[in-house]
Subunit: 429 residues, 2 copies
C-alpha cells in the first residue's frame, strides 16, 4: 500500500491545525461534492471514480514518511502531527454510484464527519471524481455515437501515465470494449487489445515481410495496419498473406469514411467478407458519428477520450454545507453554494423517461413514486465501505440503463441545456 | 520501487513478440520523439518530463506480478516473457533537457537501441513528455503574463491525483513560485503553500472567530480569505484582528481587478500598506495579463494550468526513423515523419535573439557558430543516466534564459505562428 495522504492541498492541513487548536475541529459537519454546471453545452455528466476514491480513502494514512515531511517543512504543529498519525476516516459517506448520471447541483457525494476528518479529504475526492467523471462523460458520448460498434481506448500516450490507467477504467465504465493499457488490465480487469504499429512495418524489409511475421506470431485473426505505404496495395498484400480469414485491417490516416468504403469493397472483392475494418486517428464523438453510415466495425480512440474531448475536468467542488446541524453557505458572489445536508431523487415518466432531478434537504425527503429513484447509496458507514458499492461491471450496466432513460434530445451531441432540469426543494420551515 | 513496465500499450508487446520471433528485434534502430505542430496558435513549447521519464525507465522492469499478468492473459508467448523478465534498457538516449523550448519538428528525444529494447518505451515516454510538456508550456505563458509576480499552482483538485503531482512540478519548472500539493513538496522538493478555504470561515460562528483562530495558529503574516460574506467588511475585520502586519488577503470571486483596486485602497487607508493581495478563481494567462495594471501581488492558478489552458496534451509522437542505418518513414498520408537519426541546433543573432531551429541528419552536423546552441544533450549511455542531466532548479533557470532569447512577437499571448521557424537540412548525398 502506498499512502495517499499527501495528495492533499497544503491549506487543508493548516485549516485542520487551526481547527484542532480552537476546538471547532470536532464539530459535526456535512461536506458535499457537486458540479455547479456541466461542461459547456453538455447534456449530462457521468459519475466515475467513486470506487477509486473509496480505495484511496482506505490508504489515506500518515506514516513516518508523511509525518517527517510535514514536520521538516513546518506545515503544521506537533499536536496536529500526532492527530494525523492516528488518522483513520470514521465517518459516513453517501453518494451517486459510478455509472449514474449527474446534472448541475446533483449531490454527488456527501461526507458526514467531524470537520477535522472531513476537511482533509477535499483534494483527494475532487482529483479522483473530477478526472474520472470528465473522462467517463466524454466517453459515454462517443459510445452513444458509435451506436453499438466496438470501441477501443488507446489514449494512454496522450495523458499522464497514471491518469492513463484511470482513463482506461472510465472509458470502459462508459461502454468502451477494451483498452490498449496493460496496467488497466492488471489493476482493473479490463480487456486489453493491440497488434502492431507503423514501426513494425518500417522495421521490416517490406510490408509483406512485416505482415507475414505478424500473422505467424498472432495468427490470421489479427488486425493488419494497412496504411504505412499505399492502402490499396496494403489490403491486397494483407489478404494475400493472411487469407480470407484475416481478422481485420486498421486504417489510421486519410479520410476515414472514404477509406473505409473503399476498403470494404476491396475486401469483399478479395473474398474477405468477414474481415473487419478498424479505424483510428484523431477520432472524437463528432467524427465517430459522422462515420455511422460507413462500413466501420470498430473505432480506436485516443486523444479525445483521455482529454475529455474539450472538457478535461468535471469542475466538481467539495463544499462545507452543514455545521452542527445548521446549513452554511458562502454569500459574497454568484458562486454561492446551497447549504444543508441534501439528497436527490430522479423522477421519471411511467414510460421510464427521466423528467427531473429533485434535490431535497435530507430531513425533508419527498415521496418517492414507483418510477422515481433515490440517487445516493450508502458507500461508507463508520469508516467501513458498505457491501452496496457496485462493481465496475455493474456500474457499466447502470450507465447503459441510465442513458436509455434520458429524453432523446438529451442524447444529442450538439450543445444545449442539461437533458433534465434540476429542481431544488426548499426546506420547509 | 513500483514497476512502470505495464504503463505500456498492448501492441508494443505483440510487436516485440513478432520481432523477437522473426529476428528483426535485434536490428539497431533510432526512435525519435517530436511534435508535428504546436497546440493551435501557440508560439513555443516547453520540454518537461525528461527527468521523470529517465526515472521511469530505470523502473521499467518486469517482475513476477507483471509477467504473471501477461502470461495469464496470453498477451505474448513464453519466449517473449523470458526476454521481458530480463529486460533492462541498455541503449543510448539523447534529448532536449527540461526547460528547453521546442518547435514543430524539433527532435526532442532520440532513443538508439535494438528495436526490441526501444519499441517498448513508446507509451511511457509519450505519456510523461506529452503531459508534462503540455502543462509546462501553458504555465510558462502564465508566468510571462504575470510579469514577475508570485504564482501559486493550486490545481490538484482539477486533475488526476498523480497527474497533480507532475503538474505541480511542471508549473514550478515553468517559473511558478509554489504549489498547494504536499506530495509535490515531498517528491520533488517544491515549496508548498496554503492557508485557509471558505470552509474554515463557515465552520466558525463568525468571520471574526475564524480570522482570530487562523492568526493564532499561523501568525499575523498569514493570508486571510476575505470574500466569504462581504469583502469590505472582511478586510476591515482582517486588519482589526491581525493588525497592519497582516501578510495578505485573498480574494477568490467577483471582478478581481475591481476588487483588487478597492482592497488596495482600503488596506492602505487602514495602514496595512505592506499587506499583499492574492487573487484566485478561474485565472488563466489572459486574465492574469488583464490584471497587470492592478495592485495584485500574487496569483493562485488552478484549473487552467493543470489542463494546459486548452491544450491538455502536447501531441508528441514516438517514431521509428532509422533501421540498420537506413532512414525509414511512413508514406501514405500528410502525417509523414522525416526519416533518419537527427540532431538540432538553434541559431541566434549576435544579440542573443533566437533566429531558427535547424534540424539536421546526425551524420551531417552543420557548423555551430558562437551564438548557436546544440539542443540535445546525452541523457543515457549504455542504459545509465549521464551526469549531464540538469536538476529541476537548473531547468527552471534554463527556461528563464531561453524565454529571454525568444523574439518579442513570440512572447505574445495571441494566436500565431511559432516564434521561430524550423529548418530541415537535407541529407547531403
Amino acid at each position: 500500500m502506498t499512502s495517499t495522504a499527501l495528495l492533499t492541498d497544503h491549506y487543508e492541513l493548516t485549516m485542520l491545525a487551526a481547527a484542532l487548536r480552537d476546538g471547532t475541529g470536532d464539530r459535526p459537519c456535512v461536506f458535499e461534492v457537486f458540479a455547479r454546471r456541466l461542461p459547456d453545452g453538455r447534456r449530462y455528466g457521468v459519475v466515475a471514480g467513486v470506487n477509486r476514491l473509496l480505495a484511496a480513502i482506505r490508504d489515506f494514512t500518515f506514516g513516518e514518511a508523511e509525518i517527517t515531511q510535514l514536520r521538516d517543512h513546518a506545515v503544521v504543529d506537533d499536536a496536529t502531527l500526532e492527530w494525523l498519525a492516528n488518522y483513520r476516516f470514521t465517518g459516513q459517506i453517501d453518494g451517486y454510484p459510478e455509472g449514474e448520471l449527474y446534472f448541475p447541483g446533483s449531490p454527488i457525494l456527501t461526507v458526514r464527519a467531524s470537520f477535522a476528518e472531513g476537511v482533509v479529504l477535499e483534494t483527494l475526492a475532487l482529483s479522483i471524481l473530477n478526472h474520472d467523471s470528465a473522462i467517463a462523460s466524454a466517453a459515454a458520448r462517443m459510445v452513444s455515437a458509435a451506436n453499438g460498434r466496438r470501441m477501443i481506448e488507446m489514449g494512454s500516450r496522450r495523458t499522464h501515465e497514471e491518469a492513463a490507467v484511470a482513463c482506461a477504467r472510465a472509458a470502459y465504465l462508459a461502454g468502451f470494449t477494451a483498452t490498449s493499457n496493460l496496467e488497466a488490465g492488471r489493476r482493473h480487469g479490463i480487456p486489453t487489445a493491440g497488434t502492431c504499429a507503423h514501426a513494425f512495418t518500417l522495421l521490416h524489409d517490406s510490408e509483406e515481410a512485416a505482415f507475414r511475421s505478424q500473422v505467424e506470431s498472432l495468427g490470421a485473426d489479427t488486425t493488419l495496419l494497412v496504411d504505412t505505404y499505399d492502402i490499396t496495395e496494403g489490403i491486397n498484400k494483407a489478404v494475400a498473406i493472411a487469407g480470407a480469414e484475416l481478422g481485420a485491417v486498421r486504417i489510421d490516416s486519410g479520410d476515414l469514411g472514404v477509406m473505409a468504403r473503399q476498403a470494404r469493397e476491396q475486401l469483399d472483392a478479395l473474398g474477405a467478407k468477414n474481415t473487419r475494418i478498424v479505424v483510428s486517428g484523431d477520432l472524437d464523438e463528432y467524427s465517430i458519428a459522422a462515420l455511422r453510415a460507413e462500413p466501420v466495425d470498430a473505432y480506436g480512440v485516443g486523444t479525445s477520450v483521455v482529454t475529455g474531448s474539450g472538457a478535461p475536468t468535471a469542475g466538481m467542488v467539495y463544499k462545507l454545507v452543514e455545521v452542527d446541524g445548521r446549513p452554511v453557505e458562502k454569500r459574497s458572489s454568484h458562486k454561492e453554494s446551497r447549504g444543508g445536508w441534501k439528497g436527490a431523487v430522479r423522477r421519471h415518466k411511467d414510460t421510464g423517461t427521466a423528467l427531473e432531478e429533485v434535490v431535497f434537504q435530507a430531513a425533508d425527503q419527498p415521496e418517492v413514486g414507483p418510477h422515481d429513484r433515490l440517487l445516493q447509496i450508502p458507500l461508507v458507514r463508520d469508516g467501513q465501505q458498505t457491501d452496496q458499492v457496485p462493481t465496475l461491471e455493474q456500474s457499466r450496466e447502470r450507465l447503459r440503463a441510465a442513458l436509455v432513460s434520458v429524453p432523446w434530445e438529451g442524447l444529442k451531441l450538439s450543445r444545449g441545456e442539461p437533458a433534465i432540469p434540476t429542481v431544488h426543494l426548499k426546506k420547509e420551515s
